[in-house]
Structure formats: C-alpha cells, structure tokens
C-alpha cells in the first residue's frame, strides 16, 4: 500500500538578487512516499501554474545525484540532511504527514541568489580555472600504462574526485567556507603522479582564488563532511593545508631565462 500524505512548505521566494525575498506558504497535498523531493515540488509547481502563479524556481538536471545542479536547505540542512544524498535523490518516505518544511537557497555571499532557490555558483568554476587541472594539451599524453598508479592512491584520489560541486559544504558551513570543495580537487590531483609538476602552484592559486571569491575561513566544524552528498572526508582539508604550508615555505627553483630560446 502506498502511503500518501500532506506537508506544509515555507519556501523562500525572491525574484532576483536585486530584489528582497520572503517566505511563502504552500500546502503540498497527496504526496506519495515514492516521490522524490523534487517530484513533490514539481506537483506543487503544477498547481501554482494552474492558479496563474509563478512556479518555484530551483536548479536541477540529472535527478540522479551526479550533476550537482540541485540543492537547497530543508529545515536548515543542506539537501535535507540525509547521509550521502542529494535533494533530487531524497525520497518522501522519510517524511511524515503534517510536517512543516522550510526551504531556503544556499546562503553565502559568494553564491548570489539567481531566483528563489537557485543560486550562482560561478565562484566554484573560477577556483578550478585558477589551477584545478593538469596542464596537458590534447595529443601530448604518453601511454596510459606508462604512468603506474598504486591502487590505494588511485582509490583515494577517486574518493576526492567524486565531488559534484553542488555547494552544500559551503551552505552548511557557519563560516561559508569552501575548503572541502577546494581540498577535494587539490587532493585528487595531488595524490596522483600526473598532478605532481603543478602541485605547489595549484594549491597556492586555488586557495588564493577561494579567498578572493569571498568564502570564509575553515574552523574545522565538520558540517561540510556531514552534509556532503558524496561523503568526501574532511581529512582532505588537512591534506590541503599541509600542501599549502609546504608550498608557501618551499624554495622554488627559478630559472633566470625562459625556455623559449
């Protein structure tokens, strides 16, 4: 027997970054326990449209928890606060009849609001653009097996690389820090032999960009790890701090002449 029930939603409505926002109250009736949270909102939106009202805007795309588009706060918890779960994968069987839910966008000065529950996470792209890559132009690679990578390190790198860039870590952090996001990329590439040539400049550039974007400082509260839908461990932040410190104090060889002849 499928359980159906109703919920009271208080949803943050804001037309754009320039206008003030406020909570609006909606009733979600006939919620099926098999729906995803976003499907529940789809139904609410269909009702709003039928009444000639503006539907609730929220980012979403794959609805499989991998694209990282979706995400908002439910009663103060990023993605609704279920272990290893994005809001698109959170199913309504976890909710009870008559519950009141407060839905808010990610709140961070570095993530300006676009509309309602959708925010601009362009700062994350700029952090990657500052150094979150291996500089290997197409065509210049050696044979794949010419770079052996111990399984344990490949697995650990994959743990970090699993980041979907959703921004939950920032949203949940009392300081609005982006350390877990940045550390995940620093860790992924820093663990692999391919990432070694640029390891120092990468961590310096990415941390510099992170600070310039207006994210806060890390005080190791651990909220980021708790809400990360990909369960990326906070230990990567420690690893990044170590890399950063080392890169900061290291004497770097500096040739007098460039290589362009």
């Amino acid at each position: 027997m499928t359980r159906t029930f109703s919920l009271t939603l208080h949803v943050w409505r804001q037309k754009s970054a320039k206008q003030a926002g406020q909570f609006a109250k909606y009733i979600a009736a006939n919620v099926s326990e098999h729906m995803s949270f976003l499907e529940m909102l789809d139904v609410v939106n269909q009702d709003l449209l039928a009444k000639g009202e503006d539907p609730i805007a929220f980012d979403h795309d794959c609805r499989e928890g991998i694209c990282g588009s979706c995400g908002f706060m439910v009663n103060g918890d990023a993605h609704g606060g279920h272990r290893g779960t994005t809001i698109c994968q959170l199913h309504m069987r976890h909710f009870k009849d008559g519950e009141e839910l407060w839905l808010e966008p990610w709140r961070s000065a570095a993530f300006p609001i676009v509309k309602d529950l959708a925010v601009d996470r362009g700062a994350f792209d700029r952090i990657i653009a500052s150094g979150g890559f291996v500089s290997v132009p197409t065509g210049s690679a050696v044979d794949g097996n010419a770079i052996p990578v111990p399984k344990t390190e490949a697995d650990l790198a994959m743990d970090a690389a699993a980041c979907i860039g959703c921004g939950a870590c920032v949203a949940m952090c009392p300081n609005s820090a982006a350390q877990l996001f940045t550390a995940a990329k620093v860790g992924h590439l820093g663990l692999l032999p391919q990432g070694q040539p640029e390891r120092d400049r990468r961590v310096l550039a990415m941390v510099g960009q992170m600070t310039a974007e207006g994210f806060g400082h890390c005080t190791s509260t651990g909220e980021c790890e708790a809400v990360c839908p990909k369960e990326i461990p906070i230990a990567f932040i420690a690893r990044m701090n170590r890399d950063y410190l080392e890169a900061s104090v290291k004497e770097r060889p500096q040739a007098n002449r460039g290589g362009s002849g």
């Binding site: 290997v136 197409t138 111990p150």
Partner: protein
C-alpha cells in the same frame, strides 16, 4: 521523395589508411592565424567540452555555451559504466579491428564503416589523454589500468572509474576547458541557450541565444559553429536523460538546412529502475556493468506473485542465459530490452504493474562475497536503495527498459560537417558511429574522439579554405534571426491557456513510447502521425506560461524545448514508418524471423534499407524530403547478428 546521394566525403584507400590519408590531405591554418578565427561551441559535455578546450589549445578564439549553470554539469556526467578502448591490456585478443567489428555489428550494420574504424583507432589515444589529465581510472594493485567487460563484446576493453566514469571523464575535459577559460582563450557562457542558427551565403556564421537569467536575446557571429548538444531522448518525456536535455539546438539547425539522419534510431536501455507513479519525472539507469555479475530472471509461470526469495531455482527463467548461451546476460542492449518486454507481455513481469524483471546478485555475492560486490557496484546499490527503499544486497533489483540514447542526429560527413558548410556536429548530436544500436561504453568514446581528436583537425581544414568576408552580428541575417526568436518567445510568454507545458510533454511522451518505442508497427505509427499535429496545435492554443521574460523563467525554457519535440516526434514516426525493416533499436513488429533458430529475432532488409535516411526540412507542416546515403560494408560483411 528524392533519391539523392549525400557526399559522405570518405577518403579513398583501405579502411585502416583512411584517417591518415585525410589528415595528410587537410589544409592547415598557420598557428599565428588561428587566433583570428572565432569558433562557437554549443554544449559543454564530453564532445563540446573537449572540443572547446582542444581548439583553444590550438589557438582558436572559442566561445562556448551551455544551458546549465556550469559546464561541469553537462549530462555526460551521468554515464556510469565505462569507456571502451582497443588497448588489449588484458591480452585477451582485442584489437582496433575487433572493436571496429563489434561496433559495426552491434550497430546492426547501419553505421558508416569508415567513421567506426577511425573511432576504434582513436580509442587508444583517448585513454592516454584522460590518464594524463588525472582521471582516476580503476587500477590493479600493480598500478596498471583495470578493465571490465560490457554488453556486446567478449573481451574486457572497458575502462572505468567506479560507477562514475562519465563524471570523471567530463571533469577531465571540464578542467582542461577551465584552464583555457582562465587563460582567456575560451569565453564561457553558462545558463545560455541557443535558439537559432544563422546562415549567411549558405554558410553557418553564428547563433542566437537567450540568457536564461536576464532573458536577453543576443546574436553571436563566428567563422564556424560546432554543436555538441547531445541527444533527443526526452522526446519520450520519461528517459534516463537529464531534465534539461533537449533537441532545440539541432532541431533549429535542421530547420535552417541541416539534414536530420535516422531520427527513429533510439536506444532503450535494459537496466533502469521501473516507473513508480504518474508524477514520475525521469527514469534512473542502473549501469549495464551490473549485468556482469547480476543474473536476469522472471518467474517461469505467468501470474506468479510470490516474493523472489520464495520462488525456487527450478521455477525461475533466466531467459537471457537460456536464449543466448554464448553472450548470456551480456547481449546488446536492444536484444536485452526486447527480451524483458516479451517476458512482461507474457504476464511474467514482477513488481507493481508487472513491468519489471529481476536482476539478481545472490549468486555473485555467494561466489565473490558481499565486500567484492560492494567495491564494484557500491554506489549503484546505494542509489537503488535510496530510490526504491529496497536493499539489493538482500533482495534482487527490479529493472525495466527505458529510453537512454539516440543514435540518430544531424547528418555529418566524414569530417563531422553537416549539410550546412561551417556547421559541425559532434557526439550524440550527430548520427554517425552507432548505426541502429549503440554498444555500452561507446558513447563516451565517441564524444571524446570527436572533441579531442577529430573536430580540431577537420575544422581547421574548413577554415583554411573558407575565405569568406568577416561578418559581425550587425549583419541583416542576425537581426532577422533575433527578430524571429523574440517573436516566438513573446508568443509563448503571452500564452495564458489552461494546460501546463509538462502536461503536453507527458502526452507526447506517452504517445511516442507506445507508437515509436521498443516496438513499432504501421498502424501505431500511422495513428501517431495523425495525433501529433493535433497535440502541437493544442499546445500553441492552450499552453499556460507565467509572464516574466526578463528573469529566470524555467517554464519558458521548457516550453521552447517541448515545441521542438512536438515537431521532431512527428519526423521520428515518419522515419520509423518508412524504414520497413527491423534493425537494432528499431524493431518493426511486422519484420521478425518466423522460423529457424532465430525465430522471433529482428529481421533486417539489406536489399532495400541499407542506407542512412537523411531528412531535409521543407517548411512548417510540409512533408520532409528523404535523401539516402547508401551504406557499404566492405570490411565487416553483412550477416544477421547472432549472440547465441
């Protein structure tokens, strides 16, 4: 209908020399002149992202567009299982020739041989490139790359990164792209949707876009346009595609003169989580790699409602192992999907509604231990449990086929150029490599082959020879196109009918699934061809949209895409009707083997349908014209596919 051969522009000579020949024939653009050429890339997935990054590395001035808020979110990210490459690292007899053979055969002999051979050749370079970027592929303890097997092949040639291979490959391409963005070589336009193609003097010279945050409609001029905008599976409403995946870019380019090839070739993926209710917004794929260790079965008797654990071995039908002993659970996707449908049609389906079959890991868990299964598929098992509330370590998964990929797309020649000179189409958006059925782990391979290693060369060849005048967005053709796009947008915004965009999309999707889905027949297709124009007329009369053109308006975005699906759906049915044979994912119920060992299997008609059907747009409500590209098979001989 016209019977006019399209020029596929395939180089002369033996198949293994063709790509070398073409690369040598090509005109080159002087390195110092490359920055004078502007190239527009629409889409930032494996194909678009890798192409934009690679062309910027070469020195071209690149503008890249995507509808998502970041190029890292393109739907390539959702590919789970892996990427094929003919590395033969497992020493199991793989080769470029074997990958080529498997792909042509898997595609049921409806792909262009020369393109497929090149794909197999390039596959090895892709792995090298991705490893060098730091893609964390699975490894053996000795540090070498690990492989797994996949449907449609008897060698282990699939490289993977847990169940997130697409994500990791995309992030590799995305990081290369961001490097170029940071260096000022690529200008990125996220949350921007292409709404028209601009053609001047017969050549593609730019696009018209809408900024999805401000609503601003803008013109962008360039020397060439590349579409890497993915497939059109969302015409079925329910599919494994991301919600935003759409046909708009390729459809509007089609209306500007790009022929659309084999639109009816769509792929149904056998392993998806079954539909749960009418509010369902999308279907979730469970990677095909699960078929390596999972056994597919249904109860032997129809109407058996016992729990899976209560059904003894002797009363289970492992129908794939029974019907296809050589390939077993690893038959190609189209074969596995149809077999599941057949079992359910016989009343032997499981779960609510009876549209499901079991994918059972009990035997593998017994043989390998739960820890090993967890290591291989842990994230997929977790995802299954999150969605269904059932623990697949204890009860078998329930799966059912769903629309997953579209082999059809814009027609391109060997150089990946469409019938509009200067417009190139790469990845899933084109039609070229997978014929009537794509093998698992081949989409990632094709997207990256096109983007990293083919387009960057062939586009140079075009640019070196096109000495057209410099055109900017003040040209009359751009102004007219902006006017047209603005008018359509305003018309939609002003529509205050009674039905939502989604309700029209669902209606179309259901009709397409019934008439043009896993099985097709003349009566169903003919009825759909009558019905679709009615839904389309109703849409333009009765759709309801919220006002607000100068802000984020997600209903408006959807409305534009559904309007295009309502036109494309009709062409798909028309194409399916004219293709009076069964091949690959296109299964016409009138064309099955009626006797012998292959009774019930799809029956191709090579005498009459061994061609790619390329459709030319002739104007609104006009019948499109069919052009045929004959397909010749000089290297892989036409035979019936046999997976027994």
């Amino acid at each position: 209908m016209t019977l006019n051969a399209l020029n596929a522009n395939v180089p002369e000579g033996p198949i293994e020399k063709k790509w070398d020949t073409r690369r040598f024939e090509m005109k080159l653009v002087n390195p110092a002149n490359k920055r004078k050429y502007k190239v527009i890339v629409v889409g930032s997935g494996l194909a678009g992202g890798s192409a934009a990054a690679s062309m910027a590395e070469l020195g071209y001035d690149v503008d890249c567009f995507c509808y998502q808020d970041s190029p890292r979110r393109a739907h390539s990210i959702a590919a789970q299982g892996g990427i094929n490459a003919a590395k033969n690292y497992q020493n199991d007899g793989d080769s470029v020739w074997r990958l080529f053979y498997d792909t042509v055969k898997g595609g049921d002999y409806r792909a262009r041989e020369a393109n497929v051979y090149r794909l197999a050749q390039i596959s090895v370079n892709i792995i090298d490139q991705c490893v060098a970027q730091g893609v964390p592929f699975a490894r053996e303890y000795g540090g070498t790359l690990a492989n797994r097997s996949f449907g449609g092949a008897q060698v282990s040639r699939t490289f993977y990164a847990r169940g997130q291979t697409g994500q990791q490959l995309l992030l590799g391409a995305y990081q290369s792209l961001e490097r170029q963005i940071g260096a000022g070589k690529v200008k990125m336009h996220p949350r921007t949707e292409m709404l028209d193609l601009v053609v001047v003097d017969g050549r593609a010279r730019g696009i018209i876009t809408r900024d999805l945050v401000t609503g601003k409609i803008e013109a962008h001029a360039a020397d060439a346009v590349v579409l890497g905008t993915g497939g059109y599976g969302n015409v079925f409403y329910l599919s494994t595609n991301a919600k935003g995946c759409n046909t708009t870019a390729i459809w509007r380019a089609h209306k500007r003169g790009a022929h659309f090839a084999n639109p009816c070739f769509t792929q149904i993926h056998p392993t998806c989580i079954p539909v749960a209710g009418d509010y369902q917004s999308k279907l979730t794929l469970m990677s095909e790699s699960l078929r390596n260790d999972g056994r597919i079965w249904v109860p032997l008797k129809a109407g058996d409602t016992r729990k899976a654990s209560d059904i003894p071995e002797g009363e289970r039908d492992y129908y794939l192992e029974r019907r296809y002993p050589a390939f077993g659970n690893l038959v190609p996707r189209d074969v596995a999907s149809r077999a599941a449908k057949l079992a359910c049609d016989e009343g032997r389906g499981v779960g609510p509604g009876g549209r499901g079959v079991y994918l059972d890991f009990a035997e593998s868990i017994g043989r390998l231990g739960e820890a090993m299964i967890r290591e291989r598929y842990g994230n997929l098992f977790d995802m299954y449990e999150r969605i269904t509330g059932e623990n697949p370590y204890q009860v078998p998964m329930r799966i059912y086929p769903a629309i997953h990929y579209t082999m059809g797309g814009l027609w391109v020649d060997y150089d990946l150029m469409s019938t509009i000179p200067g417009m190139f189409v790469i990845g899933e958006a084109n039609f070229s490599d997978h014929g009537a059925n794509r093998l698992g782990a081949s989409a990632l391979m094709q997207g990256l082959a096109d983007g990293y290693f083919i387009l960057p060369y062939t586009i140079g060849n075009y640019l070196a020879q096109s000495k057209g005048p410099k055109i900017d967005a003040s040209h009359a053709a751009f102004k007219d196109a902006v006017k047209g796009v603005t008018a359509t947008t305003d018309k939609l915004l002003a529509s205050k009918g009674k039905r939502t965009v989604d309700s029209f999309h669902r209606e179309l999707g259901l009709l397409m699934w019934e008439a043009c889905g896993m099985a097709r027949n003349e009566a169903g297709l003919t009825a759909a061809l009558e019905k679709i124009p009615q839904i389309r007329a109703e849409f333009w009369k009765d759709v309801i949209l919220p006002s607000g053109g100068a802000e984020m308006n997600q209903e408006l975005e959807k409305a534009g895409r559904v309007a295009d699906f309502l036109e494309l759906g009709e062409l798909m049915c028309f194409d399916a009707l004219q293709r009076n044979e069964s091949c690959g994912g296109h299964f016409r119920e009138e064309h099955v083997e009626t006797e012998g060992a292959n009774k019930g299997e799809a029956k191709r008609d090579d005498d009459n349908y061994c061609y790619a059907a390329a459709w030319e747009y002739k104007g609104p409500d006009e019948r499109q014209a069919l052009h045929k590209e004959p397909l010749t098979f000089d290297n892989v001989h036409l035979t019936q596919r046999d997976y027994k």
